[in-house]
């Protein structure tokens, strides 16, 4: 409870500000319409009209909430109109990208820590890779992967998600694998430990806190990547596709609902990773 209260308070504050902003932003349209119709509206008449527009500039919370509710619970979860279904599609993509990102990130980190030449040549380019807008590469990733015979849309989506999520893992793992101090390393040297033993018994366990800390960032990045990837892969399904269609067909509420569904999914994923982290930390003897 003591953890929820501050969050609820902040959320309440946001809702209040949001309503105020909704009235303010949507009023333009109300006044414009009145002017086109040659009538005038008073403030008191205007306010209710800002709450129910089909194409609000900023839909008030209850409109988004209602649309979200309808999307989540208004039909069977297997229906293509269900946000649960599309959320699941996005979730699947996210997990594939996440797994790929972890594998690539960890593998690169291991070779960077092991080989100086990898550190010197690859690390700067890993940073540069993140300055390239992935959306620019997306179409090429699709075409190239279809040329390689991967016609499904899952693989390119996962590649795009992994492109964003490998980086935090890489950076943290490099830090983590290098976190053992000289004394801890020297200890193993006095035992005449092999390099493999040093890695397994010292570097890897020492990197775990860094690893888990990076997972929260990486899973959020992977989700963003998946949603980005859902546009150029044909905008067939998934939350990204719903956002696009909502925008394209003048249904901002569909877009807002998809956006919030994505945020909820992000929240769930981050919390799940946090729980896993907690479990792992307890197993590794970290004080609560």
């Amino acid at each position: 409870m003591s953890r929820a209260l501050p969050i609820l308070t902040v959320l309440a504050g946001i809702v209040v500000i949001w309503y105020a902003a909704a009235v303010w932003m949507n009023s333009t349209w109300v006044y414009d319409q009145a002017e086109r119709a040659g009538t005038t509206v008073s403030f008191a008449e205007m306010v209710p009209q800002t709450m129910t527009q089909d194409r609000p500039l900023l839909p008030p919370p209850h409109q988004v909430g209602a649309e979200l509710w309808k999307g989540l619970f208004g039909q069977a979860v297997t229906s293509k109109r269900s946000l649960v279904y599309h959320g699941y599609v996005t979730f699947k993509g996210t997990m594939m990208g996440f797994a790929l990102g972890i594998i690539v990130g960890v593998a690169l980190a291991m070779s960077i820590v092991r080989f100086r030449v990898m550190d010197m040549s690859v690390m700067p380019w890993a940073i540069i890779s993140q300055t390239i807008p992935i959306v620019a590469l997306a179409p090429m990733i699709i075409v190239v992967s279809s040329q390689l015979g991967l016609t499904g849309r899952d693989v390119p989506k996962a590649i795009i998600a992994a492109y964003l999520s490998f980086f935090p893992v890489l950076v943290s793992m490099v830090k983590g694998l290098r976190s053992p101090d000289q004394m801890q390393l020297d200890l193993l040297r006095t035992y005449g430990a092999s390099e493999a033993a040093t890695f397994l018994k010292l570097r890897l366990p020492a990197s775990m806190p860094y690893f888990f800390a990076s997972l929260k960032v990486a899973i959020a990045a992977s989700l963003v990547g998946t949603i980005v990837g859902e546009l150029p892969t044909g905008a067939i399904e998934g939350l990204g596709a719903r956002m696009l269609i909502g925008s394209q067909f003048g249904e901002p509420l569909i877009m807002w609902a998809a956006l919030f569904a994505a945020a909820i999914l992000a929240g769930l994923l981050i919390v799940t990773v946090g729980l896993l982290e907690g479990m792992a930390r307890r197993r590794m003897g970290v004080p609560a």
Partner: protein, 281 residues
């Protein structure tokens, strides 16, 4: 096919050279630290060129680096105008505004653990909002020109910097804070003289992450509406026109600008946090 084998040979040779360089004394000097990644980058380009030529990849799918370089040379004025629009008007002001706002908010909520515990989880949440969902909304609100791009950037960089700032403000050691207390220092005195300097390594960490986000944000936002120049406009338009050489030319500019921004922040970091153990070895 020969082009491919030549490229592979060059790749192997350059890699061997890099292995030797990385092991040599040169690797410890700034020149060597620059040289090795540059050689690596060059070999990637050679391999790319070899692949494209050797396998006869269509230029509308992946142009060769030489073609891209030629395009850059011809299109410099356009590339510059795009750069000015997207980076100078969109990314950098957005970055500065976002960082400034994060700074102010961090200091404002610093005294309230309650607000922090409320705001930071919500912040994490917002930070995970996909930019492709936000961008159309912000374009709708702030118009087509750079203002909406700057707004996207503000939203994207705000939370990473805020989270790091808040963590940084708590980074001073208890003993260091207790010292301030024994001297009867006021809140602002201990903020300026202790907690901000101690927070600097964290703040720069946040700024570095935010710098790449700023670039991506400004470019992607242009996909959802823009004037007819700008790097995002160029990329999205030229893909549709099969002008892949121009797309890659713009990507090259983006990578260059991103690295420069990142490098600049790293330099300032080195200058400001000279005292931090990570900066001296």
């Amino acid at each position: 096919m020969t082009a491919l084998w030549v490229a592979v040979a060059v790749w192997l040779g350059a890699w061997a050279l890099n292995v030797a360089l990385a092991g040599s004394a040169l690797a410890r000097r700034p020149f060597g630290r620059l040289l090795v990644p540059l050689i690596f980058g060059a070999t990637v380009l050679v391999l790319w060129e070899g692949l494209v030529r050797g396998l006869g990849v269509a230029p509308v799918i992946l142009p060769a680096p030489s073609v891209i370089a030629a395009k850059i040379a011809v299109e410099l004025p356009t590339l510059w105008a795009d750069f000015a629009q997207t980076i100078l008007k969109g990314a950098i002001p957005g970055f500065l505004i976002g960082a400034g706002a994060a700074f102010v908010v961090a200091v404002a909520i610093d005294r309230s653990p309650f607000l922090q515990r409320g705001l930071l989880p919500v912040g994490n949440f917002v930070a995970a909002l996909p930019i492709v969902g936000l961008a159309p909304i912000l374009v709708m609100w702030f118009g087509f020109d750079w203002q909406s791009k700057a707004a996207v950037v503000v939203v994207m960089v705000f939370f990473p910097i805020l989270v790091n700032m808040v963590a940084g403000l708590q980074a001073s050691e208890r003993m260091q804070r207790d010292l301030m207390a024994t001297w009867g220092a006021s809140y602002w005195q201990s903020l300026w003289k202790l907690r901000l300097p101690a927070a600097m390594p964290f703040i720069f960490n946040g700024l570095k992450i935010a710098s790449t986000l700023a670039l991506i944000g400004a470019i992607v936002a242009e996909f959802f509406g823009s004037p007819i120049y700008g790097m995002g406009f160029r990329i999205s338009t030229e893909v549709g026109r099969l002008g892949l050489d121009m797309v890659w030319a713009t990507i090259a500019v983006a990578a260059l600008a991103g690295s420069a921004l990142y490098g600049l922040i790293t330099l300032i970091e080195r200058w400001v946090t000279f005292w931090h153990p990570s900066q001296r070895h």
